[in-house]
Symmetry: C2
DNA sequence: TTCACCATGTGAAACGGTTCACAGACCAAG
DNA sequence: CTTGGTCTGTGAACCGTTTCACATGGTGAA
């Protein structure tokens, strides 16, 4: 049965009956290859998506083409809720980091479902609220924290999977730089000092966290 | 009749019947003096507010107490919608810039109304979406734009009232600095060069826009 | 194996913004 | 009018980050 594909983790595990029903009935299924773009900032969008498998990167682009990676979304995540009200331009770009499967539910289907099952509307306001809180912290950190603190936080955040801590993080330094809004060189230099201090281990294409507590200290320091 | 107090501009002018009814019936009325804080980042909040008169500043605070001013809200604006789902901590601080009147509707009243009138839920998702778009642009600008461009944009934005352009902006340079996430000194120096170029006029406690087009150019330049 | 291509490491110079320090201007209260 | 306080202007030193340049190292394809 198809609904068995539904992930047991993330928001979907707590999604309302109604949303689960929509995802199993009217949803369109989309398969993405690594690097494939689901939608791009500025696109006209009118669907809410749920991640079934894989992982997608959520990023925003400058007018000059620079990219700020904001989050990595994993199975169970719901996104695209901003387009629900206004089939207007997307505020972010979503790209698959690995081959991934998502399901999309169209604007009209969701709105119709909300009119029938108002609690779904409340769930979606909650989702929007969570995203707002996230964006608000991102803005806060970008404005007030120096780059090394932002880097330490992103590394800590990205190595949390559920309640587990993954020590290995498979992003290149160039990708990490996009996450913290800095250059690859600056990230490289910071990682090097942490490597010398025994906090992390750096290898081609990834970082391994050796001393999570020490990294937590870096995340709180406003100067290194 | 009390509902005559409702502003005719801003979101409220288009608010759903149901919300207008709530604002006229169950809403609590709050009067704020200049500088008074309606709620603070970290507070537990459970109300949605509407501005009846005056103007309020929406800002976020760093853990070290620095402030980033994000927006100025005027009569007709609705805010606090994030607290609707989760009477959790506020993500921003709201302060009155002048004596102001607001009305607050409690979480429970809104949720009950949504269950009865689902389209209200849709309106509130729309509101959350608008706020998300705003936060997203703020993050984008903070990360990618140099300070002078951010300053020019804020000045242009803050001198728009409806479709009118007010030439006078009554914020001190210290306040403008909080809006762009920079120091007062840096703002002062930038304003000085623009003043010399005849783009603006600077006086104690305010800035007057003389050449809006020139300022628009500054807002787009990535270096000055 | 060898080569081409990335990813990483790192130094030097330039730059944007902060910090610090202080001077001058305006305004309100006495 | 004077005084105290706040706002504004500006210079100098400093600092974190970018930019540029290049070296090193790992990896996959030929």
């Amino acid at each position: 049965m198809d609904s068995l594909e539904l992930p047991q983790s993330g928001f979907l595990a707590h999604a309302s009956e109604e949303l689960t029903r929509l995802l199993n009935s009217v949803a369109t299924k989309v398969d993405l290859d690594e690097g494939e773009v689901l939608f791009e900032q500025g696109d006209t969008g009118d669907a809410l998506y749920a991640i079934m498998s894989g992982s997608l990167e959520f990023s925003i682009l400058s007018s000059e083409g620079r990219k700020l990676a904001v989050d990595v979304m994993r199975p169970g995540a719901l996104f695209g809720e901003i387009a629900l009200f206004d089939p207007g331009t997307r505020t972010a770009t979503v790209t698959a980091l690995e081959p991934s499967r998502v399901r999309g539910v169209k604007n009209a289907d969701i709105l119709a479902a909300i009119r029938e099952t108002p609690s779904l509307g409340i769930d979606l306001i909650q989702l929007a609220g969570e995203r707002m809180r996230w964006m608000s912290t991102q803005l806060n950190e970008q404005v007030f924290l120096p780059m090394p603190a932002r880097l330490a936080r992103k590394i800590l955040y990205l190595t949390v999977d559920g309640s587990e801590h993954l020590s290995m993080l498979t992003f290149s330094q160039a990708e990490l730089a996009e996450f913290v809004g800095a250059t690859r060189e600056a990230v490289s230099k910071t990682l090097s000092t942490w490597k010398r201090a025994g906090v992390i281990d750096v290898s081609r294409g990834g970082v391994r966290v050796l001393d999570r507590d020490a990294l937590q200290v870096m995340a709180d320091l406003h100067q290194i």
